[in-house]
């Protein structure tokens, strides 16, 4: 049976209008994206797909995405003035609308973030009620919701690696809620995404990152904090 709602789903959340899928969800996609990126980017290309393509201005999703890129929270009153804040903080941006990408959910956004030579692409979906799904990170299927703590591991694809990492998390008393693995080509790079109920220690993140077959570890604690 589906999980029952909270009293605060009925009276809440406290949010910035006009709608949770066009404001809160969009802010959260950007908040997750900058955590994948590692910081606030200098430059970003923002593509709104499908039903977002036509409506993003009317609903203020352009302000919401910039606000999230600036790390504003979903209930931050400054969202309304995100254009001014982006200008002040030197974030440059370009918007693009694509109307018919049938492979994507109606409310999809692609972010191409850059700072110097560092570039990351994140594709996210606003699923309604402020819930999101980060579908892709740099072309790898990521599929995390950012409602929990997320660990993204880029590693060489070698046997036993997944079991090894799940073991480490288990020893942290972290309950793994979801896990997905994508491989790019045979024995190429793999991307492992874990959603964990409780946070992990920085030490653990550093340990995983120190393993010879691991290229990069991105740890994203609760994005609403």
């Amino acid at each position: 049976m589906a999980e029952r709602s909270s009293v605060f789903d009925m009276i809440g959340p406290v949010m910035i209008g006009p709608s949770s899928s066009h404001t809160a969800g969009v802010v959260r996609i950007a908040r997750a994206a900058i955590r994948v990126f590692g910081s606030i980017p200098d430059e970003v290309d923002i593509t709104f797909y499908n039903s977002f393509a036509r409506t993003y201005e009317g609903h203020g999703s352009d302000k919401a995405i910039l606000a999230g890129l600036l790390d504003f929270k979903t209930d931050d009153k400054r969202i309304k003035d995100a254009f001014e804040h982006a200008k002040q903080q030197g974030l440059t941006y370009k918007f693009r609308s694509v109307g018919n990408a049938a492979i994507y959910h109606p409310n999809t956004i692609k972010l191409n973030m850059r700072k110097g030579a560092h570039e990351v692409e994140v594709i996210g979906v606003s699923k309604g009620g402020g819930l999101i799904l980060i579908e892709e990170v740099n072309g790898f299927a990521a599929n995390f919701t950012s409602s929990l703590h997320t660990l993204i591991i880029f590693a060489k694809d070698q046997p036993g690696s997944i079991a090894f990492i799940s073991d480490i998390i288990a020893h942290e008393d972290g309950n793994i809620a979801t896990m997905s693995v994508t491989r790019k080509g045979k024995s190429g790079q793999a991307c492992l995404v874990l959603e964990i109920d409780t946070g992990i220690r920085m030490l653990t993140k550093d340990y995983i990152e120190s393993l010879s077959w691991v290229d990069q570890v991105i740890y994203i604690p609760d994005i609403d904090m």
Partner: protein, 305 residues
């Protein structure tokens, strides 16, 4: 199936039975539900409710004092005009009620801070009604908070048996649910008994049944803002009726069933798709052409991948 020792808010009948059996006030099982289901501490729940009420009142004040123009221009400081208009059609209190419901909802349309209750589209109804109730009857905050918990219980049951989302059940599900929450809270705060509280919910639902979701240009502005005002008025009229113990005849659970049935039968064009009703009128279409983005790329063959 009620195996747990707390109430799950499946219907109004069991809520009433539970309160009568355990000699509890209506808000108490809502509190227990949240504590057991979500593991939230009681103090945190009261704090959350207090914050929500504070944000609601702020939204009312913001809407009545600050510039409220939406990007489409369809919303343009309506609440302030109503609030300041020299002639009250009914009474000054009624005028303030309507202005406040409009105000909080305008804040939502203009990217200000609100509480979704139960949704963003209906975010002016509880603020308008509760703010006015407190002012008129000098009700302490704690009592208002209890009323809000009762409202949350009402919404939990509606969500379970019908819907609280316009995209699923039409506008009856959004503004209808909010009006039912408000009406129940009003009667509770004024000392009504369980039958009178639930009667107010039943009558409110009867008044809101069938309302379709047809936002012009898909924006949460027209008719959403004025529907927040009318829903606030209906919450009060139903409370007045039920406080006098005038029977709703159709029991509240059956009213919710009717709402669910109507919601299911409603065509997709009346469910937030902006394809029917006011959105499909010539003027609605013209506005939509004006506010929607036309500079859109169309992909030939799904490249990108």
């Amino acid at each position: 199936m009620q195996t747990e020792d707390y109430l799950l808010f499946d219907d109004f009948k069991s809520w009433k039975k539970y309160c009568e059996k355990h000699n509890k006030l209506l808000f108490e099982p809502v509190l227990d539900y949240e504590i057991h289901q979500k593991g939230t501490k009681e103090t945190a729940i009261w704090e959350g409710i207090a914050t929500a009420y504070q944000v609601m009142c702020e939204a009312v004040d913001t809407g009545l004092n600050e510039e409220m123009t939406s990007r489409s221009g369809m919303i343009n400081n309506g609440a302030k005009k109503v609030y300041r208009y020299p002639k009250a059609v009914l009474s000054a209190e009624f005028q303030r009620l309507i202005a406040r419901a409009l105000a909080a909802k305008e804040v939502n349309s203009c990217m200000g801070r609100v509480v979704a209750a139960p949704t963003a589209g209906a975010s002016g109804i509880l603020p308008g009604t509760l703010y006015t109730l407190q002012e008129l009857h000098d009700i302490p905050n704690q009592k208002i908070y209890e009323g809000m918990l009762v409202g949350a219980g009402i919404a939990l049951i509606i969500e379970r048996n019908a819907s609280i989302a316009g995209a699923v059940g039409g506008c009856q599900a959004e503004t209808g649910t909010a009006a039912a929450m408000a009406s129940g809270a009003i009667v509770y705060c004024l000392g009504g008994d369980i039958n009178q509280v639930f009667g107010a919910v039943a009558i409110t639902i009867q008044c809101m049944l069938g309302l379709v979701c047809d936002p012009v240009a898909g924006l949460v502005e027209i008719p959403c803002v004025v529907r927040n005002a009318s829903a606030a008025a209906i919450a009060y009229s139903s409370a007045q009726i039920s406080l006098a113990s005038v029977d709703s005849v159709i029991p509240v659970d059956e009213c919710i069933m009717a709402m669910g049935e109507i919601g299911q039968a409603m065509e997709a064009r009346y469910k937030e798709t902006a394809l029917g009703g006011l959105a499909a009128t010539p003027t609605g279409q013209a506005i939509s052409r004006r506010v929607l983005i036309h500079d859109i790329e169309m992909l030939d063959d799904e490249p990108e991948q």
